[in-house]
Symmetry: C2
Subunit: 179 residues, 2 copies
């Protein structure tokens, strides 16, 4: 077993780091994954087979998790977006909550630090469907309360951006932390 395969099976990432050309490739493919290897190679300064080889490696290593069609929520009758914060009695009951993943309306499930335990991102047809989904949540053992933030307008929504992280200098009035 080579190092890369080993890393993948440990749910880690391969030791081979992503170089600037890889980042360029990811940037292009996030914008348009239907591009040909010929055009992709030209964008990043490689021959078509070389670009192909890079993309194969990025998929194999897990850096590219999938290639997916991005659907307009309005086209599939799910125009209502909401974020639902859920309080539970401690952490013991969160596994039951994961069952909500069976509903296609639920797009994200996270546990968060703060005044809630679980955070959902849900997309429904209307407020009636959202109400029904919340009703299901209250039927789940351990759920003590929920708080929903209904989205009025969405100004930006995009996939993970592979560009190099911007510099965000800490506010000037703060001393440099040790770490």
């Amino acid at each position: 077993m080579d190092a890369e395969t080993d890393d993948i099976q440990r749910n880690k990432h391969p030791t081979r780091d992503i170089d600037p050309i890889d980042r360029k490739i990811l940037g292009v493919l996030v914008e348009d994954a239907t591009i040909s290897y010929a055009d992709l190679g030209e964008r990043v300064g490689l021959s078509p087979p070389a670009a192909h080889e890079r993309v194969k490696r990025l998929k194999r290593s897990g850096a590219i998790r999938a290639t997916s069609a991005i659907i307009d929520p309005r086209a599939v009758k799910k125009p209502l977006l909401a974020f639902v914060h859920i309080d539970t009695r401690g952490w013991g009951k969160t596994p039951e909550l994961m069952a909500v993943s069976k509903y296609p309306e639920v797009e994200e499930i996270h546990t968060v630090a703060g005044d809630t335990c679980v955070l959902l991102k849900v997309r429904t047809e209307d407020t009636r469907a959202l109400e029904g989904l919340l009703g299901r949540l209250y039927d789940t053992p351990g759920v003590t309360s929920t708080r929903s933030y209904v989205v009025l307008s969405t100004y930006l929504e995009r996939p993970v951006q592979p560009e190099i992280t911007s510099e965000f200098p800490a506010p000037k009035h703060m001393a440099n932390p040790m770490y």
Copy 2:
């Protein structure tokens, strides 16, 4: 100008509704957009050219907004996910906030109903970078306070699901609303 083009220019959706075959196609392409038209056609019961024609129409109508590579955030050094709620002095100052879209760390910007005005989804390398980003937010005119929910674990994260909306019956103790 045909009806479809007209709808797109009005930022509406074409009148031609998405039939069950279209939904099947969307479902397949969300899972794997690299599938060939031959295989796609077989999955949905169409010939390759017919499947091709359907996909072209779905793209033209805007139902398929893009085809994108899904990147593992860890691979591009953005393992820290957080949701940031921002309070502003009324709505007048929200346009200034949209400038944060220039940072690739910001994935989503919404205005929400509830006790905040703006909700951001951000992905940073570490808490230091998040701190820097929050510092930038406080420098933005109109921002009075922020509340951040740092994600501990993500259990589900998937694109818009084109499947038919599940039935969420309202809780039994509620009478049927008029609408």
